[in-house]
């Protein structure tokens, strides 16, 4: 239950993090996050798009239609300057959170 809450809470952070490195379209965002987290974080279409649209509405990310290398039309998302500003404190918070959990976990095993 707690783990699922943490996963859900980390979704925005995960999206902003992968878009900080490169612009991606929806399917690529889901695949990249799943690959990088070893499948621990996995988006479905139903969980990904409402969040993408909410982040876009907040102007943290911006989407635009483009052609892929194979000539397919896809909507690519990129991180905006506002999104980058949001990401920095999120990184600190998540790092602090996991350090705290590790300390607790270490104390439990000591």
């Amino acid at each position: 239950m707690i783990v699922s809450k943490i996963k859900r809470g980390s979704a925005e952070f995960a999206i902003l993090s992968v878009l900080a490195e490169e612009r991606l379209y929806g399917y690529q965002i889901a695949r990249t996050i799943a690959e990088r987290t070893g499948g621990e974080l996995r988006f479905t279409l139903a969980s990904l798009y409402p969040m993408l649209y909410a982040l876009e509405k907040r102007a943290w990310i911006a989407g635009a239609w483009e052609r892929t290398g194979g000539g397919r039309k896809r909507r690519y998302y990129r991180l905006t300057a506002a999104g980058r500003r949001q990401l920095a404190p999120m990184r600190r918070q998540w790092a602090g959170f996991f350090r705290a959990i590790q300390r607790l976990s270490g104390a439990a095993h000591a």
Partner: protein
Amino acid sequence: MPDWKKLVHERLNQRGSGAAIEPEVTEELAHYLEDFYQAGLDSGLVEHEAADRALGEVRNWPRLARDIKFAREGGEMLRQRIQMLWMPGVVAAILTAGVSIAAGRVASTLLAGARIAILVYAGWLLILAGIGALAAYWSRRAGGSIANRTAAALIPAATIVAALGSLVTNPELKMALIASVFTPADVPILRVLPAIGNSVIGGILLPAIALLMGALPFLRGDSAGNSLRVGAA
């Protein structure tokens, strides 16, 4: 290969979704399913297996339609603004109104002299500091920015301004103010200026400072942020 665009359009716009979805969204979701389907085929699935797997991405289409509509219309932003600003601010304003009425009653019934009046007034300011702290803490906990927290703490001061504006009960002051608008040269406005000044300082400025002082400890530090709020709860 399934006609993903047609399929997405039909499922998103079925009865119960209560939301008309733009063609642009339909197209984008169809492309996602198409990519997912193709990845299934590439991994060795047969067509119907890949299609079933792709359709498994959405269990409840009407709910997805509503979620998308809500996100695209800024419902999420509005909800966050309510949680970060308006809820703490309005609750703080209600508390302030209640405390102010109570303080007024105490002052009018027990008032024996200036000393008690000052004590009641100081107590009122202290309680306002506590209310400012509560509003800023609540806003920070909801993920509010420093501006949100400050505004939430100051909303009670804004309501005091409105209340004082509508409750100028001193007849001399009221007449002087009205007359000064129409015949400014004939009215000794300087005579009532100290009263106005006292009202502004004692009734607005000092309460606002008290609210801000209370909020100060909660203006520092990052807000919990939306993503961490769920996990850390």
